[in-house]
């Protein structure tokens, strides 16, 4: 009888997967990842207290911004150029949430587009007040950082 070429013995298509090492590996992975898991993520807000380094050359006009707290939800923004105050803006709100939203809008619409020109804030300095708690101060720093103002300093204020 003539042997058929290429057909040979039929191989079994169902292969058995050895599950034991697979489960071992998965269990080890689960244990390692559970031990090294981080459930509370701590971040940082970087503060630059010194003005030692020169800012990089930019086409935008560079200004400084002073944020002076009057009360916890009342803040004065002083836009400065070469140390001289150019313009002041007031932000006042009945509560913290509305205050932060208003501060964000004021910086975006009034400060960063001062005199209809796109300006750059080289440094922002926050002057805190004793009635303002640290949580509110961080919220303000967050609002500044959302507007891409990253060179932030906090003025050391006396206990008033």
């Amino acid at each position: 009888m003539r042997k058929q070429v290429g057909l040979g013995k039929k191989k079994d298509l169902t292969a058995d997967l050895n599950l034991t090492p697979f489960i071992d590996l998965l269990s080890t992975c689960v244990c390692f990842l559970l031990i090294t898991a981080v459930w509370i993520e701590i971040g940082t807000v970087e503060i630059k207290q010194s003005h030692g380094t020169a800012a990089a050359a930019s086409k935008k006009i560079s200004y400084d911004l002073d944020l002076v707290y009057k009360t916890a939800t009342n803040l004065q923004l002083n836009l400065k150029k070469n140390g001289k105050r150019v313009k002041s803006f007031k932000v006042q709100a009945p509560n913290e949430e509305v205050f932060q939203a208003q501060l964000f809008e004021t910086i975006k619409t009034n400060v960063l587009t001062f005199k209809n020109k796109s300006i750059e804030i080289a440094t922002a300095t926050v002057t805190p007040k004793s009635i303002v708690n640290y949580g509110s101060l961080i919220q303000t720093l967050d609002t500044l950082r959302k507007n891409e103002i990253v060179n932030i300093g906090i003025l050391s204020a006396k206990g008033n």
């Binding site: 599950l19 697979f22 489960i23 998965l26 269990s27 992975c29 689960v30 990842l33 559970l34 090294t36 898991a37 981080v38 509370i40 993520e41 701590i42 971040g43 940082t44 807000v45 970087e46 503060i47 630059k48 207290q49 010194s50 707290y69 805190p128 007040k129 004793s130 009635i131 303002v132 708690n133 640290y134 949580g135 509110s136 101060l137 961080i138 919220q139 720093l141 967050d142 950082r145 959302k146 906090i154 003025l155 050391s156 204020a157 006396k158 206990g159 008033n160």
Partner: protein, 172 residues
Amino acid sequence: MKLNSSLVAADAFEKHLINRNRKKSWGKKAAVYALMLTSMVDMFSMLVVFLLQTFSTSPEIMLSKGVILPNSLTASQVKEAPVLAISKDGNLYLDQLLVGVATKVVTNPTKLINQLNQIKNSWAKNHVGIPFPGEVNLQADKEVSSVLVSQVMAILTSGQFQAIQLAVMGIR
């Protein structure tokens, strides 16, 4: 409904015997259990994927007791540095060790400055020829007065710790 022929055909006593035999056989439990491997492997795989997604290689800093950090949307990654903490009860800790009451330390910072100088000197010994980066992590409870925090920051700045990182809870 299919009726059991033996149960239908038998009289009352036989029925009782058949039922007793059945009850006996119900009580017997199989000695070998079959483990549902497919569902177990599924569960393990999902757990591994979830844990790999949440895996982080960034350095960790200890959160001091009695400190509730404020939330922040723009938080950066933590850097390894000495940790100064102001708790809600007003105590100041440097690397988990009590320095004193924060308001008193602010008026008389000699002890804190000495401890900061020790950290600076030990860093200089271990890193010869590299300028001191002046990094410090400042943890403060969200209820603490911002003026107290700024006064502590002024002490840090005077002690050449100018790169202050305010610790916050990162919100994704």
